[in-house]
């Protein structure tokens, strides 16, 4: 999945027009993998050593990025993408989606692993703790988001990239998958508002 395919073709929507060169599409940006590996290794160390500052950093930085990206993509970028022509969407996706393939799983792992460890260390998961109910609510929100993101959005994201690697990408397939991407990203953006409410509540109790 990491090899490059230099696609010089038009999408199905503008077939018949003059072929325009499109960017090389790399499903997984290899250059980003060492950064992801470093983040995961330091996360494991932070959990093993129970470093409070590092766990806080991973949870706050990861959660902030996760929430911010979901809100921005779902509520700002998604509607803009929906109004673009299919070739323009394809051009944007070719540059945008490979980065999302690396960024989103990384920030999700950072947030959840560090957050769970923090909750255990702080006693927030104990039934007597006032935060217990809020954390269970956050588990439920994350659970619904996981099903949408992992079961619907991410497969569509990767399928678009594979479609665009073809010598003759099918514009209808790209349009269908992009529509799924836009709708699911919008739902995730709205659900992140619930996460913001819960997490600010937990942090101030």
């Amino acid at each position: 999945m990491t090899d490059q395919a230099h696609v010089v073709a038009s999408t199905g929507a503008d077939r018949g027009g003059e072929a325009s060169p499109r960017p090389a599409i790399q499903v997984v940006p290899v250059k980003g993998l060492p950064i992801v590996a470093a983040i995961v290794v330091f996360l494991i160390v932070a959990i093993t050593k129970n470093w409070r500052w590092a766990l806080d950093w991973y949870h706050v930085a990861g959660g902030g990025l996760w929430t911010g990206i979901d809100l921005f993509v779902g509520l700002v970028l998604g509607p803009i993408l929906g109004r673009l022509s299919i070739p323009a969407r394809a051009e944007f996706s070719a540059r945008f989606m490979p980065k999302m393939v690396l960024i989103m799983p990384t920030v999700v792992v950072m947030t959840l692993a560090a957050g769970f460890q923090l909750a255990v260390n702080l006693g927030d998961l104990e039934p007597s703790n006032p935060n217990h109910g809020w954390l269970v609510a956050s588990f439920a929100v994350v659970g619904v988001m996981s099903v949408i993101a992992l079961g619907l959005l991410e497969p569509a994201n990767i399928a678009v990239l594979f479609e665009m690697r073809k010598p003759q990408p099918d514009g209808e397939v790209i349009a269908k998958l992009m529509k799924r991407f836009i709708y699911t990203a919008g739902i995730l953006g709205l659900m992140q508002v619930a996460t913001l409410v819960i997490m600010t509540r937990v942090a101030t109790q």
Partner: protein
Amino acid sequence: MTAHAHTPATGALARQFPPITQLQVGALALVIIGGIDMASYFPRRPPLGLPIALLAGSAAVFAIAVVMLARVQDFAWDPFFLVIRWALLAYLIQAGMIEYVFVHNHASGAPLVVVTLMLVMFAITIPTVIAFTVARYQVMPRTESHT
């Protein structure tokens, strides 16, 4: 430039598949609900009846999806296996991280076994749905045989 909204689906979009994606997403949902139930009790020992039932349901639904997938004719197995092996690697690492957090916090015995099996389901379900979504849009030389 239009999106051909009025024309019937052609090519890869024209082909009908069994509800494999729906079943796989259903299996994922069941195992995630089970995981949430177990995590909500942590670090106490959770009752295992509901999580085991959800895990068994998830495994059964996933198995049905796999059987349906295996019976699809003229399927693009090469891209399917290309995607699934990389996605499996990525999600095994993610599942391993989650498992590590539970082990590090002294989860043990039957609850740990159930969590581990749930993480296995998590790690195989997502790559399968990603790989199927990619492969279903690959046009094969013979596309007239539907299942």
